[in-house]
């Protein structure tokens, strides 16, 4: 990733930006102390590829990616738990990497490819990670599950790429990752499950990774 080309910047030109910055007339009737320049919410054009479908959207820059998915696109598989990055329920994949969709503005992901839980299955064929969660009872109420599954899908790619975690021994040496249960727990720690289905979650990830209990 270190040589990543910077993608073209969003088409809000500097001229437009300055224009917005100048829309700061004083609101009539507001006491002097409370007068802050007012910025009008402005709608911006964005393009995303969401679950392989190209979408051209007009959005308020304040909308988070999570709210865009749930409230605007009705992709309600992605869940809102805490809305502050503390639970992982909102985990989605952006250009294949897992992120918390509650802590990014949709506009910041303009042009990118987004995969949600709705986009993992191929038609009626579940993603192997979804199947493994079902087989190992990796959930109870299911609220955290879409985030857990998206997270686990990315986890396998990270392990394949050799990315270390906080419990990887000798991380200063570059070598393949041994995906022990401790590794799975640490790598899944960004997803909280209030039902405590962790045993099943670890088992599901272990199986999807094609490993035995270590």
């Amino acid at each position: 990733m270190d040589d990543q080309e910077s993608k073209p910047a969003l088409q809000v030109s500097r001229r437009e930006f300055v224009e917005v910055a100048v829309v700061s007339g004083l609101a009539a009737g507001v006491p002097a102390a409370a007068q802050t320049p007012e910025i009008k919410p402005r709608i911006v054009n964005c393009t995303f590829t969401i679950n392989k479908q190209k979408q051209e959207l007009q959005i308020d820059p304040r909308v988070t990616l999570l709210d865009l998915l749930r409230e605007h696109l009705k992709l309600t598989g992605t869940k809102k738990g805490c809305d502050h990055g503390q639970c992982g329920a909102c985990t989605v994949l952006v250009d294949g990497r897992r992120i918390n969709s509650c802590l990014t503005l949709a506009i910041m992901q303009n042009g990118r490819e987004i995969t949600t839980i709705e986009g993992l299955a191929a038609g009626s064929q579940l993603h192997p990670m979804q199947t493994a969660f079902i087989e190992h009872d990796g959930f109870q109420c299911g609220y955290c599950t879409p985030g857990q599954v998206c997270s686990a899908v990315a986890l396998l790619d990270e392990v394949k790429a050799g990315a270390p975690s906080a419990v990887t021994p000798r991380m200063g040496e570059i070598r393949p990752i041994e995906l022990s249960d401790d590794e799975i727990r640490e790598r899944m720690s960004g997803n909280i499950c209030r039902c405590g289905a962790y045993e099943g979650i670890v088992a599901a990830v272990r199986e999807a990774a094609g490993r035995r209990r270590v």
Partner: protein
Amino acid sequence: MKPFSYFCPATVDEAIQGYGEAQETRFIGGGTNLLDLMKMGVERPAHLIDIGRLPLMKISPHGDGVRIGALISNTDAANHELIRTRYPVLTEAILAGASPQLRNMATMGGNLLQRTRCYYFYDPSYQECNKRTPGSGCAAIDGYNRIHAVLGQSPQCIAVHPSDMCVALTALDAVVQVKGPHGERSINMTEFHRLPGDTPQVETNLQSGELITAIDLPSIPYGKQSHYLKIRDRHSYAFALVSVAVVLDADEDGTMRHVRIALGGVAHKPWRATKAEKALTGEKADKKTLRAAAEEELADAHGYEHNSFKIELAKRAIVRAVTTVVGGQQNG
């Protein structure tokens, strides 16, 4: 959330010009801290400059050291071969923080500038906070202060800097490269963050409108003899109560030629433990010497109702972290 204008520049100069003189402008990197604070109403920018597409995404050899672009994600920095093989303490520290999802989003520059997790700062329904409203007081001093500072605090503020990454960067003597309306300059990591004093709202020596462009790591031949020890309430996905970054050069017989130690979770800035370093240089790492050095470092520490445990915890953490490295048990 208060409406804001949004601008996504393609070049560093556009970003700096876009910032202009505006008081209420913020750069946004990964957004994991700024957006959170905007939702809480602590940050209320009128203009957002999204620096996420700036060409500051390289890690490369730089002289004898390594330069890390400011927009590199925490994940990519931790995973990079140059960092893992030369500065594994930085990999350890980054991976000890937050979660995989957050580290994928978080940038190096944003991590440097993340704000304190003091509950009273984070929640504007508390009126007293000298960081949010200078002169309003500090609700933590007589409040619930379990996560707060024991070193270098002031009667105005006892908040701590929450970053893990910054503790390792402090031990490594990193240099922060910045560019602003008046040109470029370098700030040593130890000078980057400030103690609270009478102006806890001024947290760093960065000037308004200055953009962090890179972090430079100097060559440290013994960089592999290092360890980051983080102590927290749960095993993962929790901020540090106390943490220690150690980088040292020890002989076969355990005599320490060079010692670098930094502490996290104890002060308003990553705390370079210069007293302990001095006490240990040239000495053998036996229990008694280590304990004495830790005592000396924490001699001026001062605790409050709920956080005095940090003083003893920090001493023991220093002893354990150094022992781990000298014994060759580190993760690096």
